[in-house]
């Protein structure tokens, strides 16, 4: 268990001139839920397919529980459960028969197979639908069936590509609940989605990828708290009196940047990530005569954080060149 559940090092995948994956490196520890976020064509599905041994990289290594996906695909397949972004169901086959087929394919025999199919149907709440034809299920039930199939062989790592796409809110909540239960059982879950708010709620870490490169790997909280890509903190400040005073103060204060006016205050950026630095800024505001009524770190939603991050990547010059030091005041 010393190896990470998923380890990717300098992974590249080119399709002719297209660099689908362009030097990805990351580790995901055992028992964690990691969200994989990126725009369409960012390289998410390609990376996930390589991890699932369905594609091969142009360069680099990918390991599942320390086993090289490229060199030992058969061994890796025993460790992973794979949910693709889209798949069809079979005609003339019931839910129970569908799971029974995959249980046979995974090598279960006799009563052990039946027991396994029943366990999975109970877990995914499909027991009552055992005799329904699998191609007559709703999208949400189909996703549950697919999750059940992926869990049949009790994999250590679940790789889920856009499992919530096209689901109604109720089905999404149910899926999220199942993923949380699996995470509590110690499974490592690597999940991609476009619905960032949901990923934020269920993931221990988020991996943002753009044009085949990682642009952020960390917990959702740091993104929500308004830490921008270049390592600054974003704060909402409200003052008594004219807010323009605050703007003037920011313009003459090193390491503090005025971003935009708000009602009775402003949105500011403090260069650095230490809480003590924010405390020093607040202290100096008060010392300089600003009557501060509110001073709190910005809580953004993940969509905003992602768009902000992409915006900064596309236009790096917009990042402000703030003064270089903010010496502690005596």
């Amino acid at each position: 268990m010393s190896d990470p559940a998923i380890s990717v090092q300098n992974l590249y995948r080119y399709f002719g001139p297209l660099k689908a994956v362009n030097g990805l490196s990351f580790d995901i520890p055992h028992g964690s839920v990691c969200g994989f976020v990126g725009a369409n064509g960012a390289g998410k599905t390609t990376t996930m397919r390589i991890l699932a041994s369905l594609d091969y990289p142009t360069m680099g290594t990918a390991k599942i529980c320390g086993i090289n996906v490229i060199h030992y695909p058969e061994e890796v397949r025993r460790l992973i459960g794979w949910m693709p972004d889209h798949f069809g169901n079979y005609n003339h086959m019931t839910v129970a028969e569908y799971l029974d087929f995959y249980a046979r394919a995974f090598g279960y025999r006799g009563s052990e197979r039946k027991q396994r199919v029943e366990e999975v149907m109970e877990f995914t709440d499909l027991t009552g639908l055992a005799d329904r034809f699998s191609n007559k299920l709703s999208k949400g039930l189909t996703q549950r069936l697919c999750l059940g199939r992926a869990l049949l062989h009790d994999p250590q790592v679940l790789i889920m590509d856009e499992p919530a796409a096209g689901l109604d809110p109720k089905a999404r909540v149910e899926l999220k609940h199942l993923i949380r239960v699996l995470a509590e059982e110690g499974k490592t879950i690597f999940i991609s989605s476009h619905i960032l708010s949901e990923l934020g709620e269920m993931c221990d870490s988020l991996l943002f990828v753009n044009q085949g490169r990682i642009v952020h790997h960390g917990d959702a909280e740091s993104l929500r708290q308004g830490t921008d890509a270049s390592g600054g903190m974003l704060y909402d400040v409200q003052v008594v009196g004219e807010p323009s005073r605050l703007q003037e103060w920011c313009s003459i204060t090193p390491q503090v940047e005025f971003l935009e006016s708000r009602k009775q205050g402003a949105r500011i950026r403090i260069e650095g990530v230490e809480g003590a630095l924010a405390a020093r800024v607040l202290s100096r505001m008060i010392k300089d005569g600003l009557e501060v009524t509110e001073f709190h770190r910005e809580q953004r939603n993940l969509e905003d954080a992602f768009i902000d991050m992409l915006g900064r990547l596309e236009n790096p010059s917009s990042e402000s060149g703030t003064p270089t030091s903010f010496a502690p005041q005596p």
Binding site: Y56, I70, P73, R104, E122, F123, L182, E185
Partner: protein, 489 residues
Amino acid sequence: MSASPPPLPTPASPTANLVDFGDRISPMVVKELRQGLRARTFVAVFLALQGLLMLLMLISVTATSQPGEAGRAISHIVFLFYGFALLVIQPMRGIGSLHREIEANTIELMVLSHLSAWRIVLGKWISIISQSALMSISVMPYLVLRYWFGEMNLFGEMAVVVLFLLASAALTAVVVGISALPNILLRGLLPLIGLAAGIFIVPTMVFNRGVEELADAITSSSSQAQAGIFFIVALGAYFSWLALGIGASMIAPSAENQSSIKRIVTLALMGLLFFVLPMIDSFDGDESSLIMLAVLCPAIFLALSENWNLLPPHCAPFLRFGPAGQLAARFLYPGWPSGVLFSLLMLIPFAGTLAWINHRHSIDDELPLALFTMLSWVTFPAVAMLPMKKSERSRVTLGLVILVAISVAFVALAILAEALNSDATNFLWLFIWIPGVPFILHESTSSTSQATMNSLAGLIFAVQFAILVIAAMLKLKQVSKVEKAIPSA
């Protein structure tokens, strides 16, 4: 998964209706049979066949005055319906069988379980032929009843039922194998041509005493007839295996090696024929050569149509055997460059057998021209693909398209040459690079000798093969780079 929610209050297990006998057979066969036996096509064909046969028997029993004549009529109609069902409808059920799974992304789900690509393809094929076998068994009682009308070779006609089943299995294998091709024209058009041919061939064969002659041939004591039937069945099995192999290699993950086993088996088969064929007195030199060619040509075409995408999992099993493994790998690695060397290797037993046969029997003067034409036919697509970048994606599809194109060109030129007088066919020299054109030239002009045409066809094949060898050598330089990337290497 250790989650154990409280048991539901349902009295019966939801999986109670899942039978256990299937544990002994492939999961894929269980799945396909479950689906196939419920499919409307099977149910409709099976019931229609039974209904028609029962009606036919009733009419024959009540309305016959000449039992012998009525018996033959029954045989004809039984084989007509049975032939349609088995040789036309059942193989057609394989159209798109793999492509549907590829489109629905379910192939990948199966490949990630313990099912190999071969087991998936084999399961689909076995399922359809099991249903065909069910139809065959259901026809047997009618043949037994027909026996009481007299003038019947019961054993022979029952053997023809089995032969139809084998032919159906071979046709189904081809349709299932090519159902994985991404090109809809190849996937659908070839079976549809087969359907059209079947609609014409089945009645022709049935009503022109074809079934009776086949039944007589099966039960005859002639060693030539028996050897002929044996080799037709054996070649049918070989073609089925190759066709299913196309499907398996199309759906297999990149890291799965689908080629080496195929090449080893084909080499072994060529080695076997090298020893066996010259000893069979029933066959003359031409027949023996054609049998060898039937084994050689599809194997060469497929070896030269493989994508070149060598990965460490392909190399590792060979490298375990040290330098000997590395040497063998140059002929057996998946991909067309090693396929060129493999084809070269295959030509050795072929040439050896020809020499041996020539020593024992006389070989027709036209045979070398036919042999070189056939060999050029299967190597030409690989040569044509060399400058094409797209060929790296799905060479087998592109190879088949080129094969169809040159076949059409050949037929068009042959028709044109036939329509013109022999002096006006000099334009054919412009198309001499198209396989088969030396053959047309030989047929349409009297000025060129057989020996000249044989040499010309040989030269064209040699040039094509030399180009392939040079291109393959350049590509094979990449092999050592991949081999070095393997941890144990």
